[in-house]
């Protein structure tokens, strides 16, 4: 059973931001690997390891493949040649570049996805509502997260309805286009109409709030967490500068 951690959503995000920027700035393979391992441990401890692995892999495998093609296969470096045939040149430094870039992306992806899995969506929305951000942001986030499964379901029933009418069975390019149309038009029509019908009632309920707004839901926070957030943000900005400053001189 996955457990959610009892931290303010912003604390989790600030920590992740600090880790990602500093790991990117450090750009050392062992730092990246350590961060990835730490993420995997946290995911394992909270019971999200499996989903984290599946979600990350679906993004990272194409990325790694693409980077290998671009940097590994047609390297422009002169030294460290491993193999060459026609336009293809595989070099040690080319492979290294691909690996370093891949790990850099991996840190962003894994740390980001871990945040998504750890943070309770409703708590995140409440935290945004209670922050000075415009009141529209919280609504838009919440509404989208609600609509995603809802519209995916709708899309499925539309497919069924069209099958009942024996519509959308064509082949080839025109058949494909017809199928897209049969699926997309009722979905778009129904959801735009729905959005339109709702908007009047939403404004009747005082949205978006003109002045200050409140939330019934409380988001647990503490002075310690606030301090941690500030420190993390400071590290996210100053950490990379501190790490990279020595290189500027050697340019």
């Amino acid at each position: 059973m996955p457990k959610s951690i009892n931290l303010h959503p912003f604390t989790v995000l600030a920590l992740a931001a600090a880790v990602v920027t500093m790991a990117t700035a450090a750009n050392l393979w062992w730092v990246s690997c350590a961060v990835l391992t730490a993420c995997a441990l946290v995911a394992g401890w909270t019971g999200h390891l499996r989903r984290l692995a599946v979600l990350s892999a679906s993004i990272l495998i194409p990325t790694f493949a693409s980077l290998l093609l671009i940097h590994g296969l047609v390297s422009q470096d002169a030294s460290g040649l491993i193999a060459a045939a026609g336009p293809f040149r595989v070099t040690v430094s080319g492979l290294e570049t691909a690996m370093v870039l891949g790990l850099r992306t991996a840190v962003l992806v894994v740390a980001g996805l871990l945040c998504t899995l750890l943070i309770d969506k409703h708590q995140l929305v409440a935290a945004i509502d209670l922050s000075p951000a415009p009141p529209q942001v919280g609504y838009l986030l919440a509404a989208t997260l609600f609509l995603l499964p809802h519209m995916a379901e709708k899309q499925r029933t539309i497919g069924q309805a069209q099958a009942l009418r024996q519509a959308g069975t064509g082949r080839g390019l025109s058949g494909w286009f017809q199928r897209v149309r049969l699926r997309a038009v009722p979905l778009v029509l129904a959801s735009l109409q729905d959005a339109h019908d709702r908007s009047a009632h939403l404004s009747a309920r005082g949205f978006p709030a003109a002045g200050s707004h409140a939330r019934l839901r409380t988001v647990a926070d503490s002075v310690t967490q606030q301090r941690v957030r500030w420190v993390a943000l400071l590290f996210a900005v100053l950490g990379p500068i501190a790490i990279l400053a020595p290189f500027w001189g050697s340019r």
């Binding site: 509404a143 029933t157 069924q160 009942l164 009047a200 019934l216 409380t218």
Partner: protein, 473 residues
């Protein structure tokens, strides 16, 4: 012209006074409302009856300040509300403050779910959405929820997920969310439509409690029957014109004659044959339907009855070929056509004519039937209209037309009476008769007991335990 006789209760305090000369939607060729006069006193109940498309919902939205939209719709008239006088002709330059207006007049839309924000995790949070937007302190919100919940008997719903409520519960929650801002007038559009008897009682009870606290109620409905006893004013809306009627006049409308029972042709060919059929969805713990034995013969109309979640829709979808039995056999020996419960999912063309003709060969026999089917359903006048611009009843009939034009031998209808007005019901009845007369058969599910008795030759009772929490969809 509606006037309140019961001004005695709170002498000369009229909450709202509306006088509309005419209202026309942007781009429309006809007025949707004409010569409407209403005034409402605290605690009064005003009922406005009208058929689908008569302008009821438009009137509701005008009362709630949602219409007219600035720079689009045309409106002539005046409104007196909360000591302020609105000249509609002035609205060219000024915008209505919909939120401020809603503190005086709240509107519960026909689709009660549209009133809910859909973005809160618990009902309690949904209830205070409007208070949150006003910035009411948390402690006060808690008190308001507790008070309202006690007054209206909502305690059992407060911790539920608003997305997983049944239709009746959804309406109760929407009513409460409306009531929490304590508007002096509440406009309810079809507050009882589609509710079973338990939910009807709960909603009516809530309405009388709110009235007792002095809220003026305006009910927009197809029928005045449930309200006849304690209405202060009753009006009838026909083509956007409001006229006063007496309660007796309305209730004494002719009830449609029961269709004559045909003797079921016992030896007729069996068109649908379920034997020992088990139906389920992959991954579900237990099958939705188990051991179903049901034969439907030519010329026969069979009704499926049962609680929500007992598998009526699943059986119909299986007969239509959308699902396969997980056990047992199903023999279908004729062409089938199915009307879905939410039939808007099937519509995607720009005009009714194109919609109904979709996918039919250019010179085929079925193509020639299109005008015939449209006139059978009373849709000829709408041939060039966009299906989404039709009233709900006519839109349902368009979906029925797309099924009928292919002349199915077996007609499968999922809750066919939902959204239909009385003219639509008559068309549906006629369609069913004509299918049976030409030797076809009809299998249908409905909550409407009257319709079931009038139409079906026999009723098949679906067994199976209803899923109490997940049937909200």
């Amino acid at each position: 012209m509606i006037e309140n006789q019961e001004n005695s209760r709170t002498e000369n305090s009229v909450l709202l006074d509306l006088n509309i000369k005419r209202f026309r939607y942007s781009g429309a060729e006809l007025d949707s409302l004409q010569r409407i006069e209403m005034n409402l006193a605290p605690g009064s109940l005003t009922v406005v009856v009208g058929e689908s498309g008569s302008g009821k919902s438009t009137l509701g939205e005008v009362l709630a300040g949602i219409l007219p939209r600035q720079g689009a719709d045309q409106c002539l008239g005046t409104m007196n509300l909360a000591g302020q006088r609105i000249e509609y002709t002035d609205l060219e330059s000024q915008r209505i403050n919909v939120a401020g207006w809603a503190k005086h007049v709240g509107l519960l839309p026909q689709e009660a779910g549209h009133y809910l924000s859909r973005i809160r995790e618990r009902v309690a949070e949904e209830l205070v959405f409007s208070l949150e937007n006003e910035g009411v302190p948390r402690e006060e919100m808690r008190q308001r929820i507790a008070g309202l919940s006690k007054q209206l008997g909502l305690d059992h719903l407060l911790e539920r997920d608003p997305a997983k409520l049944s239709g009746g519960q959804e309406r109760l929650v929407a009513l409460a969310a409306l009531a929490i801002s304590e508007p002096s007038v509440m406009v309810l559009d079809e507050p009882l439509a589609g509710l079973d008897s338990w939910a009807t009682d709960a909603v009516t009870e809530m309405i009388s409690r709110l009235r007792a606290d002095g809220t003026a109620m305006v009910v927009l409905s197809r029928t005045a029957k449930p309200w006849a006893d304690n209405t202060d004013a009753l009006g009838k809306l026909v083509d956007g014109q409001l006229s006063k009627i007496s309660a007796e006049e309305h209730v004494q409308q002719p009830v449609s004659e029961p269709t004559q029972w045909r003797a079921t042709p016992g030896e007729a060919e069996i068109l649908l044959d379920f034997s020992g059929v088990q139906l389920g969805y992959p991954g579900a713990e237990r099958p939705v339907v188990d051991g179903l034995d049901l034969q439907v013969r030519a010329g026969e109309c069979v009704g499926l009855a049962g609680a929500n979640g007992s598998g009526k829709t699943t059986v119909l979808k299986t007969a239509a070929g959308l699902l396969r039995p997980t056990a047992g056999t199903l023999a279908v020996s004729a062409s089938t056509g199915m009307l879905l419960q939410n039939s808007s999912d099937q519509l995607f063309e720009r005009t009714v004519l194109r919609e109904v003709s979709f996918g039919l060969p250019k010179k085929g026999k079925q193509r020639l039937r299109v005008p015939e089917v449209l006139s059978q359903l009373g849709l000829e006048a709408f041939a060039e209209t966009h299906p989404y611009e039709l009233p709900a009843s006519a839109r349902r009939l368009v979906a029925l037309a797309t099924v009928l034009v292919r002349e199915p031998q077996v007609l499968l209808l999922d809750e066919p009476t939902e959204a239909l007005d009385s003219a639509g019901l008559a068309c549906l009845q006629e369609v069913i008769d004509s299918v049976l007369n030409r030797g076809g058969s009809v299998l249908l599910s409905t909550h409407d007991q009257d319709f079931m008795h009038r139409t079906a030759h026999r009723v098949h009772q679906m067994l199976g335990t209803p899923e109490s929490t997940t049937s909200g969809a």
